[in-house]
Structure formats: C-alpha cells, structure tokens
Assembly symmetry: C2
C-alpha cells in the first residue's frame, strides 16, 4: 500500500507541533542560562502562548480524522517501520492528551509555577508549613488527573505512564523490593570497605580549570562537529533544539569536582538526543523514549564509565596534569576510592551510587501513600524523617535538607522519581550486553577509545527515538525487560564485602 | 463608551501574535550568538513554522471582524490613547499584510534565504555574476509586491513604507538632495581639516579589555537592573524578548576600538526598546516605530554623545587608565581627532559621520533606478563604481568592496538603506530640541551624567512605541517633520572649514 495523502498531512502537522515544542525547549534553556532575569514575566507568557498553540495544533479534530483515516495504512505496515511507529505513537499521545479538559490543563500549569515559587521560598527558610498548601493542591490535581483514566489498574500507573510509558507501579515495586533487599546489607558492607572520609575531594579547583576539563571530556567522549555547547548553570541539565543542536549545562563549585561528573552525566543525556535517527527529527519520535532510558544513559557515562577503573587508568594522569597543585600528592588509587566512596547522607543529588536508590525508593513509596491518602500531607515531614532513619540510618536535622530538598513535588511532578533508579538498573543491563558484544571494552576505555561504546548505544538504543515503548526499546537492545539482578551484582562486586580492597 | 468585549478579544489575539514574533527575535539572536552551527537547518524550519503561525493568527477573518466591530469604539476615543492607537495601527498592519498572497510571501521568504546564501558565497569570491540572478529575482519579486498597492504615488513608496511607515520617496529625495548639496563641499573641507591619518587608532587592544569597556559604557549610560546582556558576534545588532529582555552584541577586533562605538550604537537601539511603555509590551505597539527613528537613537549615542567633546573630556582619562600601554602616549585632543576623522572610503559600515551619508544616497538612487529599470542588473557594478567616483572620489578596486559589500539586496531588503541617513538627520533635530530643554546637557555629559538624556528620550520618544507614525512621533518630540538643516549645521560646525582646528 502506498503512502496516502493523509500521512503527509499528519507528518506536516506533527512537524509544526514538534517545531513549537523544540522552540519551547530552547527557550527553557535560554531562561535558565542566558535570559536577563527581569525578562522572566514576559517569557512566562510567551511560553504559555507556545504551549497553547502546540496543544491546539495537536489536539484538533483534524489530527483525530487523520489518525482514523490512516488505520488501514498502519495495519499494512511492519509495526517497526517509521511510518507505522509515527501513527501508533501519535495515536497514544493523542488519546492521553485529549483526555485532559483544557481547564484542568491550565490549572496544572498554573499550580506548577506557583508550587515552584513556593518551594523556592520555603526551602531556604526551612518553612514546610508555607509550602504545605501547595503540595496539598498538587495532590488534589493529580487525583483529578488520575480519575480521567478509570481503566488503569491503580492510580500511580497514570502518573508513571507520563514519564515511563507502559510501565506499571506493580513492576516498579517488584524491582524496588528486590533492590531494597540487596542494598540494605550492602550499605553496611560498603561503609566498612571505605571507612572514614579522608577529604580527598575537598580541594579547591579553579572554575576555568573545571570548565576546560568539562570541554575536554565532552570532546573525548565524542560527538558530531559544531553541534554541541556547554554552559554553566545552577541546576545542570541537557536541552537543545534538535539532533544537531545539543546544549548541556554543569555547575562549577569552588570546592570538589562535582562539575566533572555532572558533565559526564549530562553528556549521556545529550548523546541520546544527538544520536536519534535524523529522519525522526521534526517528528514526535525524535527524542529519547522515557526518563528511565534517558537516565540509563546519563548514569552509564557518569558511573559505569566515569567511576570505573579503566577510565581512571586512562584519565587520571591527564587530570593530575591539569591540576598539579591540587592532585600532585594524590595517587590514582586514593582518587578512585574517593570518587566511589559509599556513605549514607541526607541529600539525594549528592548521594553515591549505592545509597542513591534508597532515596528514590523512599520517595516512590511516599508518593503512593500520599496519593492513596495513607500519609497525610501534614504528617509528611515526620514520615520522611522516620523512613530516612529506617532506610539509611540518617537523622534529618531540618526540612530544608529533608522533605523540602527536591523541587519535584512543588511543580506537581509526581511519578518521576522512580525513573532515576529504573535508569540505574537498566544501565547495567545494557552495560552487560555491550560487554558481551564488545569483549575488549575495558581495554578500549583504558586507551581512551569511547567511539565503540558511543556507536553501540547509537545503533541499539538511541536511533530508535520514541518508536517503541521504553521496555520494548530495552528488550530490543538487551533481550529482556527490566531486571534488577545485573545492577545488584555490579554494586556488590564494586562496593560489597568481597570487593577488591 | 466602555471597552467592548471585542477589544479584549483583539488584545488577546494580538498578545499571542506578539509573543510568537518576540520568540522569533530571541531565536534570531540565539542563532547568531549561541546556537551550535550544525543546528541551522532545523532552526530554519522552526522559524518558518513560527512565521506561518503568527501570520495565520494575525491575518484571519477573526481579526478582520474584530477590527470592523471596533470602529465605533475607536471613533469614540482620543486618537492618542493606547486603545485607539492599538486599533488604528493594527488596522494598517492588517491591511498591508493581508494584501500579500501567501504564495508570494513564501517565495519572498525563500528568495531571502537563497539570496543571502548566494551573497555570502559571492562576496569573498568577488563573484558578482554568481550573485546577479538572485538580485534579478529579488527585483522582480519587489516589482510584484509593489503592484499589490496600485494606489501608491510611486513604486518606491511601497517598499519604503515597510521600514518607515508613511514616508514618501519624494520626501526622502528632497532631504537627500539638500544633504548632497551640503556634503560634497564639506567632504573636501574636512579632508583639509584632518589631513593625513596618523594611525592613532591602529593599536592592538586585547579582547577582554574591550569587553570590559563595553560593559562599563553600557552601565554608565544606564538601564534597569537585570534586563540587559552583551555578547560578541560577527555583525553587531540589538535584539531581545521584551522591554526587560534587551540583548545587544558587538564585535571585538584585534586592532582598534570599533567595538566601543558599535556598543554605544547598539545601546541606542536597545534603550529605545527598553524604554517603550511597559503597558505596550505584548502588543504590536511595543517596539520602536521605524528603522529611521531607531537609527536616530543609535547614531545619537554613538556620534552625538560618543564622538563629542564633553563625552571625551569625561571618558578619556578612564579609557587611558584601562589601556595605559596603548594610550599612555596619546593625548585627549589626538584621540578626539582620530575618532572623528573624515576620510572618503570604500565601505559604508566603516565610514565616518560625514561621508556615510553619501554611501546611503548612492544606494537609494540605485535602488530607484533598478526598480524602474533605468539601470540594468548587469550594468550595476559599473554604475556603482562610476557613482562612487563621482560622489566620493573613490576608485573601487573590486566588487567585493563595491556593489557586493552589503547583504541587504541579497535578502531582498530594498527600501531600507535610506533609513540610515534619515536617522542621522533626525538625531540632530532631536538633539537640538534636547539642548533647548536641557541647557546644561554638555556639562552633564562632561560629568558622566547620562540620566537626563536617557530620561528625556524615554519621555518624549521611546515610551510611545509604535502608537504614532514615525513623522508624528518626531513632530511630538521636536515640533516639526524631518528637516536636514540642523544636521548639516552640526556637520559643518564640527567638520567644516570654520570648525575649531
């Protein structure tokens, strides 16, 4: 069956929607990195206008008609083809988006901005009570949102599906229960293994040296010429306007080299977007498929590469050369242990590879309890502190470093947290598969050869964009759905009692 | 009469159109200043999509209906009120924009991009012949455009009106004929006055010093906190997303301080946009009214302030302090003469205050001849060179530094050039008026007090935005329409035979 005219019409309409959405991403980057701060008010209006335009272009009777008309064409195609995928994914997007009444959509957007502002004020003031009404409102909005999808097995599924399409809360619980089981003893073993913090990382690194280092690593990891940029920002993120317009950000603190790991992390996100097939650019398929898969890529470059032995054998001499004053007296082994140290702590974003997941599990559990009404928003700080003690033996001294530490809930982003750990888990599944297919990977990394890894990821994951569901994408790459065992094995081998001292 | 609902509807629609157009400006800035170059292809598509969206939102039966409905409301209002101005200006915008068939619009946009690319390749190759077909096509498109407005007195009026609404070619000719008459002898006198170039400006200034200097002058001239940024670029320009998001650019060359004058020039453009009344932001009235008025502002800060005695009495010690190595042995008088030197030359954008206008007049005359078919595109380079000799006694060695030097004609921007000199002329009319009202202006400038000037401009010109026609705006500020005499007087006093040596 040849391409019907309706397909070209759908493509053209979706190209416009995608253009507007990409522009919104570039403006989001601009707002955080470049915009004079006084421009925020008008910029908010501009973003709202573009949001409404994209919504009206997409959720229209015309889109619905075209999708109907294209059913027989879709059925005639290989489901893995670009055309069939475009129709299938667009239909799913359309069904979900068009279910939301415009008033609720407007309320959600408004509450997101207000909740963010309230959070931004409440955290430094350590003032949970001023934030509480916003969180209550967010939960009520989420409940109204969930009610629009009565066919779902449980409420949390509806929220999770926005970030990890097709994934069920029950599957996440199974993975996380297994993680918890394995991690709790591991945290204790790792504490033993690493001992007291020797302060190796608490050195002052000049910002221009850190910036040169970030540029160096992004060039070494590799990308197409003239398609990337790196800038400093407050909260590191990756963004951009298309596969050849990739913008990552990092943060240069006066002490320590967190910026270096943040850069490797954001490189992973940027590379995923960069290696989506060019044919998918300007379509709704032209970006990473889910937050979980995205995080699997960022964590892979940050941790599986950037905190590995082979990488540091290659890179540590370069690092020492760049910072002779700071690192002249630190040997590779000391450095390697310092960047891998496991130590329970208060703040998720500063947590190590092992304990990070406990922070996520705690949030995932609390989100479900809040949504179901099992935990009252008034009682949330106490419940937070109780579980921090139970899971990580950490005592929370105040809400600023406790329940108020993340912006997510203020902006109404509920259902997002689990994807961080799902990403960790999937990253090692993918890594094991790569090692099967590239048995000399460690040797390559030790020689600073990153192209084989980069290309494997492009070929087996990135190029598909959003063509398949996240778990289908994973399955195509590694042969199975999500499975926590490889990840637990990796953590035990690296940080457990039997790990090389 | 109270505001009808139709007015709120019109406002809301125009706010959206304005949002999209402002976003396009920010993206234009991003493309020239920030975007990774490989992103250009997709960015072009994104800009085209936004252009189409803004066009469809604006040129719609809905806009037409609202404008009709609002006639009696408009008639009930003071024509100088914001509401009446919004309706009046929107009606004029609508009438002009809706006259253009969409196919012609698309062809014009496409030819603009292609012509720009052809020009960009032809200039360095000194290859007029490769560029010629594009120019021929542009002229043909302009003729088709002009035909859409048969009511106009002469073809050139239609083009000029796009940049300087309401101005007629006959009025420009009258101004320019008078300029020519005054300038030709003045060029000879000034040559005498300044003598041979002593090379004062041919010194190397480090880029970081130039950058600090640009920031210093913009802070000294003044603006609201947190609303401006300055970046380096290839061709300096001013842009931004709203009255509190002003972005100017400049160019740091290794030799000379052109960047400093470019920054003062772009400051003038930026200040105009910055001081438009906040109530007009997010309306089609919320920007400078014409290219001519805009240029009057940029040239005022660049020349009437930035090349004046009082300014250099204040600023030269600071400049010397910043560049002691370069300027320690140059006294203020030598510097002042160097930055004011009149010398006929090949390139418009490098020309001095006096000869600049001859470059513009030449282009204005050639544009009319091309449009009327009096000069054939094949014969254009010869005609260019002949007139350069006649007007400036300059021999053009090649087309790259002759007819190919500007991008304007390649992009189809015909009718734009005269606004540069109209701006010069108006700048001195405004300046004389300011001196009447602020008799101590020179003393203020000599003390580095720029606020009175800035505020006068805000109050009498900037805040009106596009409410009135350009010449009405001028008349409100100075009491008369455009008049070349003050400008000629200023030039003669400064650069003529009777000028202080």
């Amino acid at each position: 069956m040849s391409r019907p005219d309706a397909f070209a019409e759908l493509e053209s309409r979706l190209a416009q929607v995608t253009d507007v959405n990409r522009v919104r991403r570039v403006l989001g980057w601009d707002m955080q990195v470049m915009m004079p701060p006084a421009g925020a008010g008008v910029r908010g209006e501009q973003q709202a206008t573009l949001d409404r335009i994209a919504f009206d272009l997409f959720v229209s009777p015309e889109t619905e008609r075209l999708l109907e008309e294209l059913r027989s064409y879709e059925d005639s195609l290989d489901p893995a083809s670009d055309d069939a995928s475009l129709i299938r994914v667009t239909r799913k997007d359309f069904e979900k988006t068009s279910r939301i009444p415009p008033e609720l959509r407007t309320e959600i957007v408004k509450a997101g901005t207000e909740g963010f502002m309230a959070w931004r004020a409440a955290r430094p003031a350590n003032d949970y009570e001023s934030f509480r009404p916003h969180l209550e409102h967010q939960i009520e909005l989420r409940r109204r949102y969930v009610e629009l999808f009565p066919e779902s097995e449980e409420p949390y599924d509806v929220l999770l599906d926005d970030y990890e399409r097709g994934m069920k809360a029950s599957e996440v619980r199974a993975v996380f229960d297994r993680l918890k089981e394995g991690l709790v003893p591991l945290v204790a073993e790792a504490k033993e293994l690493y001992g007291e913090d020797d302060g190796t990382l608490d050195r002052a690194f000049p910002a221009d040296g850190q910036e040169a280092l970030s540029r160096e690593i992004v060039e070494l990891f590799g990308h197409r010429e003239g398609a990337w940029r790196i800038d400093p920002t407050v909260h590191p993120f990756a963004s951009g306007g298309g596969v050849d317009d990739i913008r990552i950000t990092t943060k240069y603190e006066p002490v320590g080299l967190e910026s270096f790991f943040a850069t490797m992390h954001e490189y992973g996100h940027g590379l995923y977007e960069h290696q989506v097939a060019k044919e998918l650019d300007r379509t709704p398929l032209g970006s990473g498929v889910s937050l979980g898969l995205h995080e699997s890529q960022s964590r892979m470059w940050e941790n599986l590469v950037g905190r590995s032995r082979p990488f540091w054998r290659f890179f540590y001499p370069r690092l020492q050369q760049r910072f002779p004053e700071q690192l002249g007296d630190v040997d590779e082994e000391t450095w390697f242990r310092a960047v891998n140290r496991v130590q329970p702590s208060l703040i998720r974003i500063a947590a190590d590879e092992v304990t990070y997941n406990m922070h996520v599990i705690l949030r995932f559990e609390l989100e479900q309890d809040l949504l179901a009404g099992n935990v009252d928003v008034r009682a949330l700080p106490d419940e937070w502190n109780r579980r921090m003690h139970e899971y990580l033996a950490v005592d929370v001294p105040n809400d600023a470093d406790g329940v108020l530490q993340d912006m997510h809930w203020g902006t109404g982003t509920i259902g997002y947290f689990p994807t961080y750990s799902l990403g960790n888990v999937m990253s090692v599944q993918i890594w094991e598969r790569i090692k099967d297919e590239l048995p000399d990977l460690d040797d390559r990394l030790e020689r600073g050869e990153f192209a084989p890894l980069r290309e494997w990821l492009g070929e087996h994951i990135h190029r598909h964009g959003r063509k398949f569901l996240p778990q289908e994408t994973l399955e195509r790459a590694v042969g199975s759905r999500i499975d926590p065992e490889p990840y637990l094995r990796y953590l035990r081998d690296k940080h457990g009692a039997a790990a090389p001292a």
